[in-house]
């Protein structure tokens, strides 16, 4: 295919398009040399491995541990196409909370163990100044199966200073807990997502991105393992994402910042802000980061009830729940008003330009006191988690 643009500097276009691609192709963008413009199919095959581990806790006891090995492969096809595939196996074990997450020892938490297997395949066609991708994804747990399809297109302006993107994704999920002794049989949930965005080169050291996503979901949203948990069967969301990367010439470093606004028909609004400093030093790269998150409570979330001694009053919570049968209600802490902070550090080392290893460690702290502007939901115990990842990327 004739590509008249190939002789022009294209690196910035590569940056633009790389920043817009969907998760599967994004993997390509991060580990492919940026001298290859995103319109062009990659020249090399890439394999990336990542091993993630996770553990969380609340005061007095450890709750859940998880491991997640991931693999990603991407290969060029006939110079104008690429195919990517990835897979992950999540293993989760620990206590399964019921009712409010805090005081779960009083409210009958049970031990659980689960495995999730997920994979996706993506095919991309590269055009002169654009790229079009289609992807499929599949995820399976013993009580949950999800199938998803994604389509996206992106194209850049003549001067390569601006790239537009449009995307559509849909997923169809099935929930069935009979295998694990539950009572939820053959429930379904379907979601449609529409995304539009623009990425703009602002200055020789600044690039910004703005994306809007509309999500429309219908089906079964209850927690199948929480008795009397009743949520609306429609959940629509608006999401706005703004990102800005700034290059600091005096340090040969970059500052990557982002802000996300989220609002859905459950009544939850949230703000997410993140910042990273990327500092190369020879073969090493150091990336410290921080993230802040705050959400309001869903309009059907119910606070814990405490007795006169300040202890969790399970009888009163049950009584309230039974009195509200037929109405939407949930005691899921994830629907409460709270805030959270994450601190992270990532270190990577390049043995060669084509072989890189990395380690990342993150500390997550969630509490009602961190809710933006005011106190969050009352009587929530703090929640803490640690994540660690080890990765290897190789091209040949």
């Amino acid at each position: 295919m004739n590509k008249p643009h190939l002789n022009r500097p294209q690196t910035a276009t590569g940056v633009l398009l790389a920043s817009l691609v969907l998760p599967g192709l994004a993997a390509l963008a991060a580990i492919t040399p940026l001298r290859a413009a995103a319109e062009n199919a990659p020249e090399k095959t890439t394999i990336a491995l990542k091993y993630g581990s996770y553990s969380d806790s609340q005061p007095g006891w450890d709750r859940v541990k998880a491991t997640a090995p991931q693999v990603y492969v991407q290969a060029p096809i006939a110079g104008e196409w690429s195919i990517e595939a990835s897979g992950v196996v999540d293993n989760v074990s620990g206590a399964s909370p019921r009712w409010h997450t805090q005081h779960t020892q009083l409210s009958g938490a049970s031990q659980m163990s689960d495995e999730r297997k997920a994979g996706d395949v993506k095919v991309t066609r590269y055009l002169a100044r654009a790229a079009v991708s289609a992807s499929v994804a599949y995820s399976e747990e013993h009580d949950y199966i999800s199938r998803a399809l994604g389509l996206d297109a992106r194209w850049s302006s003549d001067d390569n200073n601006r790239t537009w993107t449009m995307g559509y994704g849909t997923s169809s999920d099935r929930i069935d807990t009979t295998y694990s002794g539950g009572s939820v049989i053959d429930q379904h949930k379907r979601t449609h997502e529409f995304m539009g965005g623009v990425t703009q080169v602002l200055t020789p050291t600044d690039i910004a991105q703005l994306n809007f996503t509309r999500s429309i979901g219908e089906g079964y949203y209850n927690d199948p393992y929480k008795t009397l948990d009743q949520r609306p069967n429609q959940r629509d969301a608006w999401i706005a994402l703004a990102r800005w990367n700034h290059y600091l010439a005096q340090f040969d470093a970059s500052v990557r910042s982002s802000y996300r606004y989220y609002s859905d028909t459950f009544g939850v609004q949230s703000h997410t802000a993140g910042v990273e400093w990327v500092q190369p030093a020879g073969r090493w790269t150091f990336t410290p980061g921080a993230r802040y998150y705050s959400q309001s409570a869903a309009n059907f979330y119910l606070d814990p009830i405490l007795d006169a001694q300040g202890q969790y009053d399970q009888a009163a919570v049950f009584a309230r729940a039974f009195s509200r049968i037929g109405s939407n209600q949930s005691t899921d802490q994830r629907l409460a008003a709270f805030g959270a902070v994450t601190l992270s550090m990532k270190v990577s080392y390049a043995f060669t330009p084509d072989t890189v290893v990395d380690v990342k460690y993150e500390v997550y702290h969630q509490t009602a006191d961190l809710h933006l502007g005011s106190a969050g939901s009352p009587n929530l115990d703090p929640f803490n988690a640690n994540f660690m990842q080890i990765g290897l990327t190789h091209r040949f």
Binding site: V15, L22, R162, L210, A249, S270
Partner: protein, 75 residues
């Protein structure tokens, strides 16, 4: 109300950016630093998949970074 405002903001902003032809006129030979890997928005996508999956299971909000991924029983 908030959703209406956000809808209008989305349409207005995207339209404005589309019609603002003078914004960010940077020459190709000035984009060398923008092409460095540290300037990509996604960073390390496998890393982000793992982390976003965790956030999606511990917080109400998820999404906004792309479309096409499937759901899970974690949330």
């Amino acid at each position: 109300m908030n959703r209406t405002i956000l809808s209008l903001l989305a349409i207005t902003t995207l339209s404005w950016l589309g019609g603002c032809s003078n914004l960010g006129q940077v020459n190709a030979w000035d984009k060398g630093n923008l092409a460095k890997p540290m300037m990509t928005f996604e960073g390390d996508p496998l890393d982000q998949r793992f982390v976003q999956h965790i956030y999606g299971s511990k917080e109400n909000s998820s999404g906004g970074y792309g479309v096409g991924g499937g759901g899970c029983g974690c949330n």
